[in-house]
Amino acid sequence: MSAVGTAARPIEAGGAAGFVRRHWPWLAALAFAVVVPWFSYDWSTGRHSGFIVSMLSQIGISIVFALSYNMLMGQAGLLSFGHAVFLGLGGYVTAHVLNATKGGGVPLPLELTPLAGALGGLGFALVLGYFATQQRATAFAMITLGIGELITSCALMFQTFFGGEGGVSTNRMTGHSLLGMGYGAPIQVYYLIVAWTALSVVGMLLLTRTPLGRMANACRDNHERAQFVGYDPRMVRFFQFALSGLFAGIAGSLYTLTYEIVTYDTVAGAMSANALLMTYIGGVGVFAGPVVGAVLIVLLQSWVSLLSNSWLVYAGVLFILMVTFAPMGLTGLVLMHQPIWRAGRMGRLLGPYLRLLIPALAVTVGFVLAVELCSFLTIGAAQGKSFTLSRITVDPRSAPPWLIAGALMVGGGLWLRFAMRRFGATWGAVSEEIKRAEVRA
């Protein structure tokens, strides 16, 4: 109790030491982001692993995108189905600015091009947000869905701005740089992304602590009450929407700088769904939640898609499980343990957790096996691949692997239900003990 209380106070242990103590997870993440490409550095060729750098760049872009989505979802209680519009439009604006720079039009240093994306995202969010934020709740969600569809179809119709199906190609080596860098190598762009991601994270974090940020929370909690303390919830939604579009535009700029091409799928529904997925899985209730979600989803996307055709199935199932069992996301799950951790009773849960782990693993293995069998029966067969597990070739047309998958899922599922009930009982008992101990104290 007192730990949280003091952390929330405006006046805290000052100086650099206090700053480090309060923000160490962010600083550690930043240090990790700076150092991690060097683990994949090949000294003989003098190059970084393209795969790792590309994945890390994507993580940075996704962090900004997911956090900007949570400005609506978690902080203002607004469910948007069209957030990719502002990422995509920020990306298109950036591509045009880069092309203009290359053509000698605007001598904008490459380091500052995300500002163009930010302005693009902000501008379009001001216009489209004016309509969307007239409403809240379901009506708002429907309008954003409409806006998403509208801009996606525009992207295919208006060739001069969107470039049709081929999109707009560009070249980030404009020759204009504040630091005198060429930005031909992906690693240089990656560090630019790290810098802009850090800036955006700080910006969005600070925004939560402003009057607008707090009133966004207030309107989320009780929009009617907000009116009776003098605020027009519509204006709160409008400003919050516009600023969230600004940060999505920055994410779009970073996207363009990384891939040097923007196509219509950057504004499309699947991209918007991605933001929702990352934010929800990471957790909408904690500022850092979408960061966790972005990292996890990009890792899934990059690594699992190498191993399996079915990565989307796994992401979808993970999403359904999270919505059903942990609506506050991964960070919410972690925070649930806070009182037990502080009471020093985590040990009590260790055994029950291990007992959950075994049936959970069985169900997971059974499910993955079933999905992969399906996949090899259909797509795999078409691609001429064969299903091998540590050099044993599995024949998806024979019965035994299917029986094993079924047995693991059914047996593991029944066991898991039993273990979950036992776990729930232990959890309840521990929470009860802590509550009683608090009352005594």
Partner: protein
């Protein structure tokens, strides 16, 4: 006589074909404590909803300090110095108690929709919020999410949010509803203290609270005012006794 804080002229409200408020005219003198009583369904809360702009009126007009406020949205009315609480507790449940109070203060302190002020650095604002927190006796619950407070604490917080913006006209809708006797006594003392020098209009069912706090009592029955005057006069009024008070008045 000076301009009344609140003047209602022939206020009417119908939901569909059902008339709920049927021509209410009422003056609330600045600085007075005015109670509105009446049986269930008399339209007391509806009247509050009309005054505060939550519902549009069907007819009539309402003036705050002589300026008409009918047709204005709730936030505009609030900015002109009228603030209200709700019968069913209405707070910001996921925000801390301190944040709840601070949100009540923001507009009146001129922050508007600012996204360039950091709340932590606004010393005057934070001091004022802390003082209000002390006023409603919730200092020890400062960092607790408001949704986790006890019922009586939430009622106190609701009053805190209502008065935070410094409105000079306060509408309290059944501030002691659902409270135990000692909690209600506590709430009455609180209301008396924090509305000193302001205009208070309250809907209340608890007659001991009404006769304890109010300077003027208005009796509303079926959407019409049947009597209005000092508590002693209302208590003695035959029509009021017939229509409403009866046994509870003697019990009180």
């Amino acid at each position: 006589m000076s301009t009344p804080a609140l003047r209602l002229t022939d206020v009417r409200k119908s939901f569909g074909s059902t008339a709920v408020i049927m021509g209410v005219s009422l003056d609330v003198a600045a600085g007075s404590r005015h109670a509105i009583i009446g049986p269930n369904g008399a339209g007391k809360t509806t009247l509050f909803n009309l005054i505060s702009g939550r519902f549009p009126m069907t007819g009539g007009s309402i003036a705050l300090h002589g300026r008409p406020i009918d047709g204005l949205p709730p936030h505009e009315i609030n900015r002109r110095g009228l603030s209200r609480s709700f019968q069913v507790t209405s707070i910001f449940p996921r925000m801390t108690v301190f944040e709840n109070i601070r949100c009540g203060l923001l507009w009146s302190r001129g922050y508007k929709y600012s996204f360039w002020h950091l709340m932590g650095g606004q010393r005057t604002l934070n001091d004022q919020a802390a003082r209000l927190l002390a006023d409603v006796n919730l200092e020890t619950r400062r960092d607790v999410p408001a949704g986790l407070l006890s019922y009586a604490e939430q009622r106190a917080l609701e009053i805190g949010i209502t008065i935070a913006g410094g409105a000079d006209t306060i509408l309290l809708d059944e501030p002691t509803a659902g409270m135990s006797r000692s909690e209600a006594n506590h709430a009455v003392a609180l209301i008396r203290r924090i509305t000193a020098g302001k205009t208070l209009v309250m809907v209340e069912h608890d007659m001991s609270v009404v006769f304890d706090l109010a300077d003027v009592v208005t009796v509303l029955v079926y959407g019409q005012v049947i009597a209005s005057g000092p508590p002693a006069e209302i208590r003695a009024n035959r029509a009021v006794q017939d229509a409403y008070l009866g046994a509870p008045a003697e019990a009180a």
